[in-house]
């Protein structure tokens, strides 16, 4: 009896150890790439040359960051990205929430028709070329608002808002109506203040999208001054175009400052906001995915 239970204990123990090790490996594989960028951005440029495997910077230096923060183009990209993230997110949340509140009213006339119109867009879409032509015709090509207006609304987020609004007790709204509040009054004074959790979730979804997107910039933007940071990074990394920043760095530091360490430093600058907000992001976004999954 004792032998048997000990044997069983050992078998489970072995699995547990193996499984724990596997999970630790997963964590390592996940974290190391970011750590790699971090240490190489801080490494003295000549050491960061081709990215050898290492754990700590061999010689600390902030030269690469100095170049990045002195680069007018990159800083302008940072500004454009921040601007589109703030405006794009605010517009998306406000617009989608207002539509969703209207849709959540059970007495809304034409509700079925509206819902059907929206569902069709989930099944069919025009795709890249027709959308591109539309943007051109609307004057949104090479225009800052191309980041904001086409992303102002998604059916998926509307449904998330709508189902959340339905959970707010109607008595709250009724009492405000008795006090003479209009529908807009109820929405802005009662419903939205009671929906902060879902607003936070959708805002983060939207903000992460705006911060990380490089593709809109590649397709719709030609003017250098309107390029978001990620699109610039795309050009520096994938197309290996010598940016203004690198040319300047070459002149300043000579061959001592290879492109790689500047690349790493600009990658770090572009990722820091995401990493700083990660605790909130992961808390709210995971909740959002759950809501979406249940609805879907």
């Amino acid at each position: 009896m004792a032998m048997e239970s000990r044997g069983r204990f050992r078998r489970i123990g072995l699995f547990e150890v193996g499984n724990t090790l596997l999970m630790l490996t997963v964590c390592f594989i996940t974290l190391y790439p970011m750590w790699f960028v971090f240490i190489n951005s801080l490494n003295a440029p000549e050491r960061a040359l081709l990215g050898t495997i290492n754990w700590f910077p061999e010689a600390w230096s902030l030269d690469s960051y100095r170049v990045v923060f002195n680069d007018k183009n990159l800083m302008n990209g940072f500004y454009i990205t921040t601007l589109r993230t703030v405006i794009g997110t605010a517009a998306h949340v406000l617009f989608t929430a207002i539509v969703a509140y209207g849709m959540s009213r059970s007495n809304l006339i034409g509700r079925k028709f509206y819902m059907r119109t929206a569902l069709i867009t989930m099944l069919f879409s025009g795709g890249l070329i027709p959308t591109f032509l539309l943007m051109t015709k609307l004057g949104l090509y090479d225009n800052f608002w191309v980041f904001v207006i086409p992303g102002m609304y998604t059916f998926f987020n509307m449904v998330i808002f709508m189902s959340f609004f339905r959970t707010i007790p109607e008595s709250l709204e009724e009492s405000a109506k008795v006090d003479g509040a209009s529908d807009y009054g109820v929405l802005f004074r009662i419903v939205l203040p009671n929906s902060m959790a879902v607003i936070a979730t959708i805002s983060l979804f939207s903000a992460v999208y705006h911060w990380n997107d490089y593709y809109q910039g590649v397709i719709y933007i030609r003017t250098q001054d309107l390029l978001p940071l990620q699109t610039m990074l795309y050009k520096i990394i994938a197309e290996n175009s010598m940016s203004f920043m690198q040319q300047q760095a070459m002149a300043q530091f000579g061959a001592r400052l290879p492109g790689n360490s500047i690349k790493f430093a600009s990658m770090m600058v572009a990722t820091l906001p995401i990493l700083a907000f990660y605790p909130f992001i992961q808390r709210y976004l995971v909740k959002g995915v759950m809501i979406g999954a249940i609805k879907g």
Partner: protein
């Protein structure tokens, strides 16, 4: 009789109109959303008809000459089109066969971790890469796969290769780079939905199975997998119907002139033909054909799943 009914109808209708105007505030909230959808979803759908025209962006669409199926015949005769089909299907097949089970496996194994704190920490860390932009993630990959990069150092240290290989310039590695980078970036995130499904399983089931002497693997197979089968089926349907698509942000980041032979997916082909070469009608014809086939795939996958497992999305 008929006159009376008509009067009733019109009364009913005018009553509805009145009710509609009485709720103008709520309507004014919804209608902008409908207008937005009309402009940004329905107009592009309507614009698909340029697939049957020789459309030029300088002229109004209705002045463009109709050419019937000319563009469809053109792309069907283009080797590069068939190459892009092969690439898309190849990459999707690898992703589906070898990539689809990984988040499920990860969720199962994570579920076996006893310490709640460790479990949560691993989960939180595992979806970090999902939030890293493709420019950053791709930048790291390109650095690691390049000359003197981490990959080469590792392979040479392990004695697997004796000289440097430029992984990203050699087309034969491209599909695998796409597969592995997708697994690295998205496993934790895709697992969330399975982890949530597993968390919803009634613990009494496990207790009963344990009393009946089921071991860990039997419990995993007969309880966990069976309980999350609906979730798996639905995600599988969606994955199959998405086979003609690709992760454009990923491929666009990793492609270059050297690996284009294996990298040009259907999405990239449409982009290259339509926006780089400016053949709008031609590319739209490809888009049109793809939407039709994708819809067919969705219906087929849905039907098959309904027959085999009883699960379907509609």
């Amino acid at each position: 009789m008929k006159g009376k009914e008509a009067v009733k109808m019109s009364q009913h209708r005018s009553g509805q109109m009145k009710a509609f105007f009485r709720q103008w505030q709520v309507q004014s909230m919804v209608i902008p959303g409908i207008v937005w959808m009309f402009v940004f979803c329905y107009i592009p759908m309507f614009w698909l008809i340029i697939a049957f025209m020789d459309y030029s962006i300088a002229k109004p669409m209705l002045h463009s000459p109709l050419v019937g199926l000319k563009h469809f015949e053109d792309f069907a005769a283009d080797d590069r089109f068939w190459r892009s089909i092969r690439n898309t299907l190849g990459m999707s097949a690898i992703k589906l066969a070898l990539g689809f089970p990984i988040p499920i496996l990860f969720a199962l194994l994570l579920n076996e971790i006893r310490s709640l704190r460790f479990k949560r920490a691993v989960q939180t860390i595992s979806y970090l890469p999902h939030f890293i932009a493709w420019t950053i993630f791709g930048g790291i990959l390109l650095n690691w796969l390049g000359e003197g990069g981490v990959m080469n150092q590792l392979m040479m240290a392990l004695g697997i290769q004796d000289r440097e290989i430029l992984y990203n310039s050699d087309p034969q590695y491209f599909w695998w780079i796409v597969y592995f980078s997708d697994v690295l970036k998205e496993t934790g995130w895709s697992a969330i939905i399975y982890i949530a499904a597993i968390a919803g399983i009634d613990p009494a089931l496990y207790e009963a199975a344990e009393l009946d002497g089921a071991n860990r693997w039997q419990r995993m197979w007969h309880i966990t997998i069976q309980c999350i089968r609906p979730t798996i089926a639905i995600l599988f349907i969606l994955a199959v119907s998405g086979m003609l698509g690709s992760n454009f942000e990923q491929i666009f980041m990793l492609k270059n002139n050297m690996n284009m032979r294996m990298a040009e997916s259907l999405d990239l082909y449409i982009y290259n033909m339509g926006l780089v070469s400016g053949r709008h009608s031609f590319s739209t014809a490809v888009l049109f054909a793809r939407s039709v086939v994708a819809l067919g795939l969705l219906l087929l996958a849905n039907y098959t799943s309904k027959k085999l497992s009883g699960e379907s999305i509609f």
